[in-house]
């Protein structure tokens, strides 16, 4: 659809096109291209030397009691500012994947990658995963299968922190700007039993018809099907870039995980500045 200014925007439609071409036999060449494209979109996990060694020795899996997954810039940066800077964390690996939104073909490697895993030095069964880059819809399932395939699932607890624009939040009452940012939670059936987590949620449950999509949904679905206790905390915010007020919203979640993760009472100003200024909008209108 072209707008008044002539730019072309894609329109969301619930109509489904019937792809007649698909029924036809496709030439071998096309199939090869398709296969190559699929290979290129594969999610690859790269672990550090010691973890990689552990995983490759037989059918061993990484011992893990808590996996804390942060999806989106605010959730991920919250962990950077309040938890990860304490030097108590080792980067143990990252997930590399390519899709139409990633800039380089190989995907960035090292600590700058879009999806990094950290392990606690004192209690190595606590893992943090920060996901800041876009992961495509067809890569979500693969990601969960591969990551959870590396973890011991017997005593695993999963916590997901994720961002969402408040415009997507549906409520019968008008959501005034003074009430954002706020948290909503969604937990798997394995959680809602008589575990230590039940009953003391730091926020209300996500109301229907609101849903969770993307990586948090993929992780919750995996955990629901495999009976793993998992809770997702979705933060609805009206700021899209990393912002200290939105980050503060996640604090009550981690204070509940107090024994597992040491939360710094105050944000690290240097780290915070780095992320907040990087996202500053640089306009040349009022030089």
């Amino acid at each position: 659809m072209a707008t008044f200014f002539g730019e072309v925007v894609s329109v969301y439609s619930r109509a489904v096109e019937e792809d007649d071409e698909e029924e036809l036999e496709e030439p071998e060449e096309d199939e090869e291209i398709r296969r190559e494209l699929e290979e290129r979109r594969e999610v690859r996990l790269q672990w550090s030397a010691d973890v990689g060694e552990m995983l490759s020795s037989g059918a061993a899996r990484l011992p893990c009691s808590h996996l804390i997954l942060a999806v989106g810039s605010n959730a991920a940066r919250f962990l950077s500012v309040f938890v990860l800077h304490s030097a108590n964390w080792d980067s143990v690996g990252h997930a590399a994947f390519w899709n139409e939104m990633t800039q380089t073909a190989s995907g960035q490697a090292g600590p700058e990658a879009g999806c990094v895993f950290y392990r606690n030095k004192d209690s190595p069964s606590v893992l943090i995963c920060q996901m800041t880059s876009y992961i495509a819809e067809d890569q979500l399932f693969q990601w969960t299968e591969k990551v959870f395939g590396c973890l011991q699932q017997r005593a695993l607890n999963v916590t997901v922190l994720c961002d969402s624009p408040v415009a997507e939040y549906k409520s019968p009452d008008y959501v005034s700007s003074s009430s954002v940012p706020f948290l909503r939670s969604l937990q798997t059936s394995a959680c809602s039993g008589t575990g230590p987590r039940s009953g003391t949620a730091p926020c209300p449950p996500l109301e229907q018809p609101n849903i969770v999509t993307g990586l948090p949904a993929a992780v919750l679905s995996y955990c629901q099907v495999h009976h793993i206790p998992a809770i997702a905390y979705q933060c609805y915010s009206d700021v899209i870039s990393p912002d200290s007020i939105t980050m503060e919203t996640y604090k009550p979640v981690l204070t509940r995980l107090g024994k597992v993760i040491q939360l710094e009472p105050l944000p690290n100003a240097d780290v915070l500045r780095k992320f907040v200024t990087a996202a500053d909008c640089r306009s040349n209108l009022y030089i």
């Binding site: 549906k170 008008y174 969604l186 937990q187 449950p205 229907q208 018809p209 609101n210 849903i211």
Partner: protein, 262 residues
């Protein structure tokens, strides 16, 4: 892949399976929502697959605050044992490149589970009807040869109309081109139907021509039509509306209005 919700594998032998095709206006999915919610069906498992876009939410059929907090996923199977009825609800779009794989998965699961018959609820673009389709009511059905033997006559007696095969090149009187099955906007409907014909599955497609918009009335039309055949509800559907709208249908057109507007 079907994953049971509890430790015991449910038995679907002899059950009727109803599933939606993700199609124009989501009419099939809305109708399936009404069935699950009206019959208070029990969730027995999930279809856990990479072919669907993941989504998760709290209980879409919650009737009170107690049962509201229960995680539900993109594709789930519900049953009503007394009626020998199973329902597969699909809540997310199929990943485009994986629709063929998804059809294969469905067909093999249906085959392995031993359902006595399968009913696909679907819809098709109303604007793409040809002249003859325009002149009658918007409901159509399709039966695979395996099911034709079993209930072809019953549907004829009900006065149902079979989906017409349309000319491949309308306007041309080329006798060599065979009329074809054409379900624009029907998603996997046609593929699933042809696969089921090849696999000799007893499968029916019940579809409605519609346009996108508020498709809730369309879902009632489709479901009342289906009820004439399957008798999901004992009461005649022409009386007061007996279908129970699930709580998740609230706020279809967005949030409340800012009070400062007035």
């Amino acid at each position: 892949m079907f994953v049971a919700a509890e430790n015991t594998q449910p038995c679907f032998k002899g059950f009727t399976l109803i599933l939606p095709a993700v199609a124009v206006g989501n009419v099939g999915q809305l109708a399936v929502d009404l069935i699950v919610s009206t019959l208070s069906m029990r969730r027995v498992g999930y279809i856990h697959t990479d072919c669907l876009i993941p989504m998760a939410g709290n209980n879409p059929y919650a009737s009170s605050a107690e049962d509201a907090q229960e995680l539900h996923t993109a594709a789930e199977v519900y049953t009503e044992a007394e009626m020998k009825l199973a329902v597969l609800q699909i809540r997310a779009p199929i990943i485009q490149t994986k629709s063929r794989k998804f059809r294969k998965l469905l067909v093999s699961w249906i085959k392995a589970s031993g359902f006595s018959r399968t009913v696909v609820l679907s819809s098709s673009h109303a604007y793409q009807r040809d002249d003859q389709q325009l002149q009658s009511d918007p409901l159509r059905y399709l039966l695979t040869p395996a099911l034709q033997k079993l209930c072809g006559d019953a549907l004829k007696e009900l006065g149902w109309k079979e989906m017409e095969r349309v000319a491949a090149f309308p306007g041309l009187t080329d006798t060599s081109a065979e009329p074809r099955l054409y379900i624009p906007g029907g998603g996997i409907t046609k593929g699933l139907f042809t696969d089921s014909c090849a696999e000799e599955l007893p499968l029916a497609v019940v579809l409605l021509f519609c346009s996108e918009g508020d498709n809730i009335p369309d879902s009632f039309t489709l479901l009342n039509h289906l009820n004439d055949w399957l008798h999901l509800q004992a009461k005649p559907s022409q009386e007061a509306n007996k279908w129970k709208i699930p709580s998740s249908w609230r706020l279809l057109f967005g949030s409340g209005i800012p009070p400062a507007l007035f």
